[in-house]
Structures are given as C-alpha cells and as structure tokens.
C-alpha cells in the first residue's frame, strides 16, 4: 500500500510527466489555451493512460517474455488499435460522452506520454496494480499541469505581453517556472 501511494504521489507531483519528463508536451503547449478544454483533454488522456497500462501489462506478461524485441512495435500497434476500438464503441454507446471526450482520443494516441508510460512501466517492472496506479498518477499529473497552464494562459490573455515573446517562447518560460515550483514537492519524501 505504501508503495502504491508512493508511486501515485511521485508521478503526480515530483516526477510529473509533463513538467519533469517532458512527456505530452505537444498538447500541453498546443491545446492548453482554455481551462475547460484542457480539463477534458486531461480526463481523456487519463483514460487512455489507464488503457495503455492495461495493454502494456497484458503484452508484457503474455507476449513479450517470448519476444522482447517486438516490444516497441507491439506497444504502438496494440495501444493504437485498442484506443481506436474504444473510440468506436463510445461513439456507439454514448454519443454525449463521445462529444465531450471522444474527439480527443485519436489525438492522444500519438502523444508521447502514452508510449512513455508503457515503456517506463516496463522498465520499472511494475505489476498490474502498480501499473494502473502509475497510469492514474500520470494522468492526474498531466491534467493538473494542463489545468494550471491553461489558467495562467487565460490570465495572461488580457495582459500586455511583448509581441516578440508571445506564443511558444512565452509558454515555455511559464512551463519552466511551473516546473521549478513542482520541484519543491521533492521535499515530500525527505522524511522517509
């Protein structure tokens, strides 16, 4: 239990996927303009991450012990097709859910956070429960970073930012400051 909590908190705050591992930067810099959209994208990503952890575990336990060299290619193919399959079924079963989350799904599959999760979970030898916790922590961390970023960007919309720095450079510097702030969470583990 301690271990699970540690995995969750450390991926949520200290080793935040976006701010410490730079995974999932494309949506982080591209989509984080609006608070509402960012939050929904975060939720959808969390969902895909959980599916990914599940797929990675199944592949690792039943397939890849026989053929470790197929790891990368099978992760990509299996995760992409599973997500596509889920997208189709959500569309069929609940059009309203699809409208709010589903439109992001194809976009997320090509996000490096997804592949990164599968690879990190494998490298660390996580089991099923640990992997799912890891995915939840990573998703929550991603959502948190997205929402914070979107909040700051909405605020700066009305400010007078020099034209030269506006855009990606500005967002990167905000991300740098956020990342610095998140480093402070490392102190959480100093007592243990």
């Amino acid at each position: 239990m301690d271990n699970l909590l540690w995995i969750f908190i450390s991926t949520l705050l200290v080793n935040n996927f976006v701010l410490a591992y730079f995974l999932g930067l494309c949506p982080f810099l591209g989509v984080s303009g609006q608070l509402e959209t960012s939050f929904r994208l975060g939720l959808a990503t969390t969902f895909v991450l959980v599916i990914t952890a599940l797929c990675a575990w199944v592949l690792n336990t039943y397939v890849l012990i026989y053929a470790p060299y197929l790891r990368l290619i099978s992760f990509i193919v299996v995760i992409a097709s599973t997500v596509q399959f889920i997208e189709m079924s959500i569309k069929k079963l609940s059009p309203s859910l699809f409208k709010s989350l589903g439109i992001f799904l194809p976009l997320i599959t090509t996000n490096c956070a997804i592949l990164g999760l599968a690879i990190f979970a494998t490298n660390r030898g996580y089991g099923l429960i640990e992997g799912l916790t890891f995915a939840l922590g990573a998703g929550a961390g991603f959502t948190l970073a997205m929402v914070l970023m979107a909040g700051i960007r909405e605020e700066t919309e009305i400010n007078n930012v020099p034209a030269l720095i506006k855009g990606t450079a500005f967002n990167l510097i905000i991300a740098g400051i956020l990342s610095m702030a998140f480093m402070g969470f490392a102190g959480l583990f100093s007592s243990t």
Binding site: A20, Y69, R124, F189, S190
Partner: protein
Amino acid sequence: MTDKQDNIKTSSITTEEPSSSRLIFSMAVAGFISGIIIIAIYMLTFDTIKENKARELREAVFKVLPEVSFMQKLHFMDNKLGVVKAEGMDDEMIFAGYDKQGKFIGYAIQGKGPGFQDTIHVLFGYLSSNQNITGMEILDSRETPGLGDKIFKDMDFVGEFINLPISKEIKAVKKGKKTQENEIDAITGATISSKAVVRIINIAFNKWSSRLPQQGNEPLLDKN
C-alpha cells in the same frame, strides 16, 4: 476505422477504393519485413549486449568486494541459498566472491528502492566475518544529474561505505555531523538520494542477513 476512412476520403481526391484484402496484404507485408529486420538486429546484437551486461555486473562485484578473483551467483529458493548458473538476474539473487585460491571472501548483496526520481539499484559488498560493508556501487539510477547522481559520482560519499560496520543499522546524517561509527555523511544538496541509498542498504541487509548460511558453511566455488 470506417469513420476515419471517410474523413480521409473527403479530404483528398476520391480515387477508386482499394479492396480491404489489399489493405490487409500491404499491412501484412510491412509487418513481415519489419519483423525480419527487428529479429535480425536482435540476433546481431544479442551476444554483445549480454556480454556488456555480464561484464558490468562482474566489474561491480569486483569493485565492492576487495581482492576478489572469482564470483558466482547465489539464488534464494525454497528457503535455501543455492548456486545458479543461469543468465540474468532477479531480486532473489546475491553474489559470492572468492579469492585466487577459491577461498570464500564475502557476499555482494543487491537492493532496490525508491530514490528521489526513480528506483535506485544498489550493490554492496558484505563480509560476514566482521559484519562490515566493504563497498557500494550504484547499478542503476535516474537521479538528477548534477545533484542526486553524486551518490555514485562523489567519491567521498562512495568511499564512506568502505569498511562500514553494519551490526547496527547505518544512518545518514547531515554533512559534518558524523559522530558514530555507523553514520554516513549525506551529500549536501542530495540528502534525499543519500538517505535513499542508506535505506535501501539497510532493508536489503535485513532481508538477507538471516538468509545467509552460518560462517564456515558458505557455498564452495564451483569452478565450472
């Protein structure tokens, strides 16, 4: 899939629709070729990679145990510590080191645990004769470069683990505050990583100390 196809079709000039068997065929060919390439590179590099890993491990064991010339793997299974020859390494394994004449010297014990960033994998040498740690080596870690990676780059810190008594639990204290024999000066700026190393060693030691055979009953060196 059909939905996506429709999107693509409307966005590009509609040409004749290839049959699905042709789609499957091209995917299969691509998959087959890529499979052959991947397996070829795997076979080509397999021996070198295996050798690199074995050499790395052997060097680490030789580093943490003084004057060792031979080593063998010991595996803990069914409440017994036995010699294994198999490749690879898992958490239930330690290493025994022997001198030139094949006389037993000490154990190299491994431990894993959370560090500042990610799991730290530690190997340390242990002499059961005087209950001392003889050296420490970090096998794997992703600690912050420049700060946390001092746990293996700062030679003063690594040096503190040479001839360190572990009859009592070892402790990491602030640099310069070391008073007891079983205390270690933590690295300034990398307190968390230093403490993590110490904690991992303590846990691994507690796990293994009861499993090690009585003195004099150490497994003999199997020279084959």
